[in-house]
C-alpha cells in the first residue's frame, strides 16, 4: 500500500443530509409557539433544559472524564442569578438568563482549582460538597429568601404570551446552543486535547497538552451552561427554592440521560433525553418507582453497555451524526478481476 492509499476524512456526504435534517427539525420546533398549546410549550421547555443539562454533564464526564455529582450548584446559581439580575438589578429577564450563566462561571472559577486536587470518585463527592455549600449559603441568608426561596417577579410581570413563547424559544436556543457548543468544542484544539487526556493523561501531558487548563476550560463552560439551564428552568417555574434548585436530582437526571443515551457522544444525550422524557410522561405519577427503574437501567447500562444506546448503534452500523471524529479511509487498490468496488468508502479505521 502506497502513501496515497488512504485519506483522513471527517465529514461525509451523509453529514450534509444530517445538517439539512437538523435545520428542518429546529425550524419545525421553532414554529411551535404559533400553534401549540401553552401546557405543551411548557413541557417542551423542560425537555430542552434536560437536553442542555445532559450535554453539559456529558461534556464534563463523557469527554473530560470528570464525573460530577454537583452540577446542581451551578444550576441553582443560575436560577438565583435570574432573580438577582432581573429583580435586584432590573435587567430584562431574557438578558438575565445569559448573565446568570456568567454568575455560575464566576463562582466556578475559584472552585475549580480547589476540587481539581481530587480525582475520580473523590472528585465527584467534592463537587457535591461544593453544591451543598452553595445550597446552605443561599438557604441561610435572608436576602435570598432563606429556605422558602423567591419568586422571580421580573419574569412573572412580563406579558404572558411574551413570557411563554420567549421562554420556549430561549429554551430551544439553549438546547441547540449546547449541542453546537459541544460540537465546535470537540472539533477545536481543546477537543483534541480532551480526547488525548481521556485516552492517556500521561501521554497527553508529555505531548504538550496543558491538562489543568484544558480541564479548567471544560469545567467553566459546563458551569456556564448549567447556570443558563437553571435560569431557563426558573423562567419556566417562576418560583425558586434552595431545596429544589440545588437538588441532587438534577445530577441524577443528567446522569441517567447520558448513561442511557450514550456516554461520550453528542447524539447520546439527545436520545437519552427523548427516552427519559417519554418514560417520564407515562410514569411521572409513580415518582419513586420511576427513579428506581432509572437507577436499575443506568446500572445495567453502565455495566453491560458503557457507551449507551448510541454506543450500540455506532458499533453495529458505524454511523456518526456529528462529524467530530477523524476517520482514516483506506482506499481499495484496484483489483484485476474488477469486482464491484465499494467506491471510496473502503474499510474505515477510526481515531476517536
Amino acid at each position: 500500500m502506497s502513501a496515497q492509499d488512504f485519506s483522513v476524512a471527517r465529514s461525509t456526504r451523509m453529514h450534509r443530509y444530517v445538517l439539512i435534517m437538523g435545520v428542518l427539525i429546529v425550524a419545525a420546533l421553532a414554529s411551535f409557539p404559533f400553534w401549540a398549546q401553552v401546557s405543551f410549550l411548557r413541557t417542551m421547555v423542560t425537555f430542552f433544559t434536560l437536553v442542555a443539562l445532559a450535554q453539559m454533564w456529558n461534556l464534563l464526564g463523557g469527554y473530560a472524564g470528570m464525573i460530577s455529582v454537583g452540577q446542581q450548584a451551578y444550576l441553582g446559581l443560575g436560577a438565583y442569578g435570574l432573580w438577582l439580575m432581573g429583580d435586584v438589578f432590573h435587567i430584562h429577564p431574557f438578558v438575565s438568563v445569559i448573565l446568570a450563566g456568567g454568575l455560575a462561571l464566576l463562582v466556578a472559577l475559584p472552585v475549580a482549582p480547589l476540587i481539581f486536587r481530587l480525582r475520580g470518585g473523590y472528585f465527584a463527592i467534592g463537587t457535591w460538597v461544593v453544591a451543598e455549600v452553595v445550597r446552605l449559603v443561599v438557604a441561610n441568608i435572608q436576602a435570598t429568601g432563606g429556605g422558602s426561596g423567591k419568586t422571580v417577579i421580573s419574569a412573572a410581570r412580563l406579558p404572558i404570551d411574551t413570557r411563554i413563547n420567549g421562554t420556549y424559544l430561549l429554551a430551544l436556543f439553549v438546547a441547540v446552543g449546547s449541542i453546537l457548543l459541544v460540537y465546535f468544542l470537540l472539533r477545536s484544539r481543546l477537543g483534541l486535547a480532551l480526547t488525548a487526556i481521556r485516552d492517556n493523561e500521561l501521554a497527553a501531558q508529555s505531548s504538550g497538552v496543558n491538562i489543568f487548563r484544558s480541564k479548567l476550560y471544560v469545567y467553566l463552560i459546563s458551569a456556564f451552561g448549567c447556570g443558563v439551564v437553571g435560569a431557563v428552568v426558573a423562567m419556566n417555574l417562576l418560583r425558586i427554592q434552595p431545596a429544589a434548585a440545588f437538588s441532587i436530582n438534577w445530577t441524577a437526571y443528567a446522569l441517567f440521560i447520558v448513561v442511557i443515551g450514550g456516554f461520550g457522544s453528542i447524539e447520546g444525550p439527545i436520545i437519552g433525553a427523548v427516552i427519559y422524557f417519554t418514560l417520564l410522561q407515562s410514569l411521572s405519577q409513580y415518582g419513586t418507582t420511576y427513579m428506581l427503574l432509572l437507577g436499575v437501567i443506568a446500572v445495567a447500562m453502565a455495566t453491560k453497555a458503557p457507551r449507551g444506546i448510541w454506543g450500540i448503534v455506532t458499533k453495529r452500523w458505524n454511523v456518526h451524526l456529528f462529524p467530530v471524529r477523524r476517520r482514516l479511509v483506506l482506499e481499495e487498490p484496484p483489483e484485476p478481476q474488477g469486482t464491484t468496488g465499494a467506491g471510496a468508502a473502503g474499510p474505515v479505521a477510526e481515531a476517536s
Binding site: G121, I125, W128, G295
Partner: protein
C-alpha cells in the same frame, strides 16, 4: 449550652463520622474505587435493623448483630456480582454504577418504608449520662459510639498489619498485578474488602439510628461527611480518618454554637475546603492518590 459541652459533643460525633468513613477509606485503599452508595448502604442497614426489630420482636442488640452479618454477606455478593465488573481501565464506570445504586437504595427504601423519619429504640442507654460538673455531662451512648469507633479502627488496623489476609489486602492495594502473580485472588480480596466495609458501615448506620432519627434520603449526607473525614485525615491512614472525623464533628457543633444552628454544617464544609486548599494530602497521608 456551655462551650466545653459542645466541644465534647463534637468530638464524640466525630467518632461516628469516622465509623462511616472507615469503610469508604478501606474500599478506596484496596481497590481504588469510591463507593458513592456508601452512605446509603449505612442507612439501608439501619432500616434492615428496624425491620428485624419490628417483624421478629428481637432487641436492638441482636437485630444489630444480625444486620451486620447480613450486610457483610451483601457486601461480598455486591462486589463479586456487580462491582468487580466495573473495575478496569475506565474509571468513570464504578462512579456511575455506585451513584445508580445510591438512587436505587434511596427510592427502594422510600417505597418500602415511606419517606418518614424513623427511630431505633435502644432503651435506657440513650438517655443516661455521666455528670462531670453542674454544666458538663457526657451522654453514655455518644461515648459508647466513640469508644466503638476506636475499637473498630484498632481492630481493622491490627487485621491489616498482623494477619495473613491483611497482608493480602495491602499487597493488592500496592500492586494488583503483582499480588495476582503471588497467588492472591484479587476478586475475592475485593469482595472481602467490600464485605468488611459494609459490616462497619452497617454498625455505623445502626448507631446513628439509635442516636437520632433517620430517613431514606440521609445516605448522601453520610457519604459527604465520611468523605470529608477521609480527605482531612489523609488518604491511606485509618487513624487519620478518626482525626478527620473529630475535626469535622468539632467544626459542625462549634459552628452551630457560634453562628446558629443552620450554619453548623456549612462551617464543617468550609473547614474541609480550607484543609483541602492548605493541606490537600490531609493530616496523615500515607498513600498517593490513584
Amino acid at each position: 449550652m456551655d462551650w466545653a459541652n459542645v466541644a465534647i459533643q463534637g468530638i464524640l460525633l466525630g467518632g461516628l463520622y469516622a465509623l462511616f468513613a472507615t469503610g469508604l477509606a478501606l474500599v478506596f485503599g484496596v481497590m481504588r474505587m469510591v463507593n458513592l452508595a456508601h452512605g446509603d448502604l449505612g442507612i439501608l442497614a439501619a432500616f434492615v435493623a428496624l425491620f428485624l426489630v419490628q417483624s421478629f420482636h428481637i432487641g436492638v442488640l441482636w437485630s444489630g448483630l444480625l444486620t451486620i452479618v447480613i450486610m457483610f454477606v451483601v457486601g461480598y455478593l455486591l462486589q463479586r456480582g456487580l462491582l468487580n465488573f466495573t473495575l478496569g481501565s475506565d474509571d468513570t464506570r464504578p462512579i456511575v454504577v455506585t451513584f445508580g445504586l445510591s438512587i436505587i437504595i434511596q427510592n427502594g427504601l422510600i417505597m418500602w418504608f415511606s419517606a418518614d423519619s424513623q427511630g431505633l429504640d435502644a432503651g435506657k442507654i440513650e438517655n443516661i449520662s455521666i455528670r462531670i460538673s453542674d454544666k458538663l455531662s457526657i451522654g453514655w451512648f455518644p461515648l459508647l459510639v466513640f469508644i466503638t469507633s476506636i475499637v473498630v479502627i484498632a481492630l481493622l488496623q491490627t487485621f491489616l498489619n498482623r494477619t495473613k489476609l491483611g497482608r493480602a489486602f495491602r499487597a493488592t492495594s500496592d500492586d494488583r498485578e503483582a499480588a495476582e502473580l503471588m497467588g492472591i485472588n484479587n476478586r475475592h480480596i475485593y469482595g472481602l474488602a467490600m464485605a468488611i466495609a459494609l459490616a462497619i458501615v452497617a454498625l455505623a448506620g445502626i448507631l446513628l439510628a439509635v442516636r437520632t432519627t433517620f430517613d431514606p434520603t440521609q445516605g448522601p449526607f453520610r457519604l459527604i461527611y465520611a468523605f470529608e473525614a477521609v480527605i482531612m485525615g489523609g488518604m491511606g491512614s485509618i487513624w487519620g480518618t478518626l482525626i478527620g472525623g473529630i475535626v469535622l464533628g468539632l467544626s459542625q457543633t462549634l459552628g452551630s454554637q457560634a453562628f446558629g444552628s443552620g450554619w453548623g454544617l456549612l462551617v464543617g464544609h468550609l473547614v474541609f475546603l480550607t484543609v483541602l486548599a492548605v493541606r490537600p494530602s490531609g493530616f496523615f497521608a500515607k498513600t498517593v492518590t490513584a
